[in-house]
């Protein structure tokens, strides 16, 4: 019963949602209830996630085998979580203000000099300090590391080992250059507009491959959904005891 009930709920819910697509008048109300439940359950999942994160981090902090670096990282995580929640609740989100560093160049000099300038300062601790001054730059910095890794990865991966690799290399190089003005500028010297070639690769060759992938994924999703509805696929309810 412990396994049958979740499977039964999955099957019924799935069937109702499918029927709603074809017969919205008949199953409209029940589908609406299910949608509301999904949103409520998602909200509770956030609480569950926070509690889970807190328990794991606290355990790692107090366990004697944890390395000192990991311990510090976990303490920082717990403190950040608690401080953000408290400040967020006290000061609330105020989207009227922004504050950020703006790079302003001195155009009067021959070699432009940099000077930093605060654009605007506000008094809301949550929006100013937590969101724009801490979360915003940290998040952007993490994502910008991609530039370094992509440069390093392309140096090591894009080698003309065989015909397929050479084709991939050529297509990637054309698209990389075709998406920026310098590509058109350089190839313009020999009368070639590389952005047009890049657009052809993206809009024709890439689109054909993407369409095939999308159709395959769609068919795969239908198969998995049917397996879930008929109770063949049981991984979502965990391992049997």
């Amino acid at each position: 019963m412990k396994r049958e009930l979740p499977l039964f709920i999955t099957a019924i819910t799935g069937l109702v949602i499918i029927f709603n697509y074809f017969l919205p008048e008949v199953t409209g109300q029940i589908t609406e209830i299910i949608r509301k439940w999904v949103i409520v359950i998602s909200s509770f999942a956030i609480i569950l996630g926070i509690l889970n994160l807190l328990i794991i981090s606290l355990r790692k902090t107090v366990e004697p085998i944890t390395h000192i670096d990991d311990r510090i990282a976990n303490i920082v995580l717990i403190l950040s979580l608690i401080i953000t929640i408290i400040i967020g609740m006290v000061y609330k989100v105020d989207p009227n203000y922004t504050s950020e560093f703006k790079l302003v160049l001195d155009k009067s000099s021959v070699i432009p000099l940099i000077n930093f300038e605060f654009q605007k300062v506000d008094n809301n601790v949550f929006t100013n300090v937590i969101f724009y001054s801490i979360y915003n730059p940290l998040s952007a910095a993490m994502f910008s590391l991609l530039a370094f890794f992509i440069a390093s990865a392309s140096y090591r991966a894009f080698r003309a080992r065989n015909m397929e690799a050479t084709l991939l290399l050529l297509a990637a190089s054309i698209v990389i250059l075709g998406r920026v003005p310098i590509g058109d500028y350089l190839f313009g010297l020999i009368g070639l507009k590389i952005s047009v070639v890049s657009e052809y690769i993206t809009a024709v060759i890439n689109a054909a491959a993407q369409r095939a992938i999308l159709i395959a994924v769609g068919i795969g999703t239908i198969i998995i959904s049917l397996k879930l509805l008929f109770g063949i696929e049981k991984s979502h309810i965990g391992k049997s005891e």
Binding site: N96, L103, T127, A151, S154, A207
Partner: protein, 287 residues
Amino acid sequence: MIIIELFKKITRRTIFLTVAIFLTIGAIFSDVYWIKKINLEMLRKSITPASKQAYDFIESLPPNSVVLVSGDYGPSTRVEADPILENFLKQSFRKNFKVIAISLWPDGAQIVATKTRQVASQYNKQEDVDYVIGGYVVGAAVAIEKMGVDLKDAIPLLNKSPAPFLKNIKTAHDLNLVFCIAAGDTLQYYIRILKSRYGVNVSGGCTAVMAAEMYPYILSKQLIGLFGGLKGAADYEILESNPEPDQVSEAVKYMLTQSLIHALIIIFIIIANIVFIYDRLKYGKKR
């Protein structure tokens, strides 16, 4: 041969350092007049057809159209997504559209609200009259599905707004356009649910890495054009503002940095292949 031996000494650290130097050069010189002028001239000649298609469609909408803008991105992708959102808002307010601004990402809500208020103030538009901030909408695909049935139920903050234009809006079908700027799957949700099932016009923008995935939807006309990555943002800025070199904002300026890094990657690829071919000729395939 000395050059080949030098190339072989290139390590990951060398690459990281070179990228850092190029990024710094790009950041410093992106505001230089003649560089902006060259950038602008090159970009004007190479507007992506998908960007033009999206812009023309938005331009063809009548005044007082109601549009929903969904800024589903966080601070990590602001460089690419912010200029798209900004130019969409500029175009919308210039055309006197009524705007509903939401985000399906919790951290995107703050960004979307701030940007909408900033652009609206430039066009003397009033909150809860010309535009409404819908905040964070929880539920992603489920919320989009609900928009097709009852928009105000899906976006609860709309119930609190006294905006007159909301009186005639019951479902997403009443919207003239849904414009989604995505750093995740949400643009595909809007296409698959609102466009395919409810026939709502969907257009949008996305990060450069996602743009390739969206082309099948553009070709099947399920997605009306696309502003892909920083290039798309620069296209939008040129189409909307047609700026002079001293008037360009971030999207066009940052194309210099992107140009330099793209050129650097190509140089590294060429170096790697010179070393590879040299080694293959010298030592054979086994090495």
